[in-house]
Amino acid sequence: MPALSELEAAYTTAGKDTVFTEELALLQTTYIGRPTPLYFAKRLTERLGGAKIYLKREDLAHTGAHKINNAIGQALLAKKMGKQRLIAETGAGQHGVATATGAALTGLSCDIYMGSDDIARQSLNVFRMKLLGARVIEVSTGSRTLKDAINEGLRDWTTNVRTTHYVMGTVFGPHPFPMMVRDFQAVIGKEAKKQIMKAEGRLPDYLIACVGGGSNSIGLFFDFLAHDSVRMIGVEAGGRGIASGEHAARFAGGSIGILQGTKSYLLQDDDGNVLGTHSVSAGLDYASVGPEHAFLKDSGRVEYTYAEDNEALGAFEMLSRTEGIIPALESSHALAEAIKRAPALSKEYVIVVNLSGRGDKDVQHVARIKGIEL
């Protein structure tokens, strides 16, 4: 608790400190490579024959996903707070890579917790983290995925709280994490708004993003929330189908509960134990969801749906072939929803899909699924 109060105070001060905000803004342009482009996916649009599809290219951000926006922000903050060490959890490995990058950039030491199942399916990112000077700590408890990596990260943080900052990778955990991570990710929507105004002269009709913990989606949605004409769709991991029980669709199959200091929708049994999850994408394979998404779901402002593994894999291949962009399997869930929706809409409609990450990290995993030996 004192650590959370300390963090909240430091974050509030940093937000008003022009030295901090200017340093972050400079790194966003010169290091992360912002603004990321908003790309009109012409061939995909033609292929689907309906609404125009734009892609917000977070896959082109440094390290290959939106995760860097938050990791650099928190690394700078930790440095300012006088911490010597960063720790983080990672599922797909993108947040681990981003945090390891932030640690290298600021000269802090870095340990990343990762479930052993995720280590197996994301070996490329494991090696990237090591190259960046981080130590990757294997978590073989529980479901051996993201949830358990967060448990271990939080255990480490409570032990080493005086010297260590915990870089929560998504809009989850106790306050101020959900707010702080959202603020660092909101740059996505701010840019997308300007870019679509320039390209189309108006706001989009739909925003679509995948929802694991929910940081890329809230990052895209946040700046548009006040614009009622913009419909927003969050896409969860439907895994092998809701009926199979092997999924991570918290809104479709969960109920309110408390996990890791957060009250939100949770996949749990009748006794309040957290259920196992499944998704083809490690980054969406999580039993709960950011509390602000729970609020947006209950208020009806955002619609939540899910895409199953095979739909995401289909979208992964379709975008690769039609646009020459290999998307992350997480982002492929958002694309799958766009592929479902676009044909039913007339050509005047505009959809913006958050292409939250690139798919290089998933290539080996997809090959394995297809039974191809590399």
Binding site: M1, P2, A3, S5, T141, G142, K147, D148, N151, L154, R155, T158, T159, N160, V161, R162, G257, I258, L259, Q260, G261, L266, Q268, D270, D271, G272, N273, V274
Partner: protein
């Protein structure tokens, strides 16, 4: 009404003694063994027993208790079953019993219903490490009405504001965590621990028991010098499958040391 925990502390402190508070996980390795262990603990001089409720994501626990929780979950132990177990246990013993659980099972159960049923079963206190007092107003109110003590935690990093808050709402005793960290770690007592506990005593007369990382008689003895009670968890959980005689010798060594 004086709770069974408060009454026990008064009795102990009047005799200028300290409380021995062992922890075991319900259903580890089996419910039958838990029943035997409670008898063994009581016979070995335990004053209050802390019963763990298994949870899928025990954030405050180290590997030993995580593993015990997994075993218990595999036995089908749930919060409902632990309450039934305590109700049944009350035919055999009146020793004060505290449940250590995480918040989600209680939330899912329904806080009011849980307080009522736990009280009816003979549960005397609750420790919920992932529920800070700031978020516990409802549970505190329901439990108070039912005469169940809500025990909150303080740690070496706790601020003055936190100490004041916990002093106000912690009933039965205050659980002082000997270090920053999780259960079952090596004991590395914070240098500030004694002065910190002195600061707590200025705020309230609630007894202070110290736990986390205490595994042998020497450590227990050192902690007992400035605490009202000593909690031993992981070190006992590690040994529950040992023969009773061996376990009894160990428990007695702790009992002797806590004075």
């Amino acid at each position: 009404m004086t709770s069974r925990i408060t009454a026990r502390f008064r009795e102990i402190l009047k005799k200028d003694k300290k409380a021995f508070i062992p922890y075991i996980m319900t259903g580890h390795p089996t419910l039958q063994r838990t029943r035997e262990l409670i008898k063994l603990l009581e016979d070995s001089g335990a004053d209050i027993i802390e019963l763990g409720v298994p949870f899928s994501d025990p954030l405050a626990d180290g590997p030993t208790i995580q593993k015990a929780a997994r075993t218990a979950l595999e036995q089908g132990i749930t919060l409902h079953k632990v309450i039934d177990f305590v109700a049944d246990l009350r035919n055999a013993t009146q020793i004060p019993i505290i449940l250590m659980t995480y918040y989600n099972p209680v939330y899912k159960y329904g806080e009011e219903l849980f307080s009522r049923e736990a009280s009816a079963a003979g549960v005397d206190g609750l420790i919920i490490p992932d529920l800070p007092p700031d978020e516990a107003a409802n549970l505190i109110a329901y439990s108070k009405k039912q005469g169940v003590d809500t025990i909150f935690l303080l740690a070496p990093t706790s601020t003055h504001e936190r100490i004041e808050k916990v002093a106000k709402v912690s009933r039965g005793f205050i659980y002082y965590v000997s270090m920053t960290g999780i259960t079952g770690s090596d004991l590395s007592m914070d240098a500030s621990i004694e002065s910190h506990i002195a600061a707590i005593r200025k705020k309230c007369s609630t007894p202070v028991a110290v736990g986390f990382g205490i595994s042998n008689a020497d450590e227990a003895s050192a902690v007992a010098k400035f605490a009202d009670g000593v909690i031993v968890g992981s070190a006992i959980v590690k040994q529950v499958e040992k023969p009773d005689d061996e376990l009894r010798t160990y428990l007695r060594s702790l009992r002797e040391a806590i004075r």
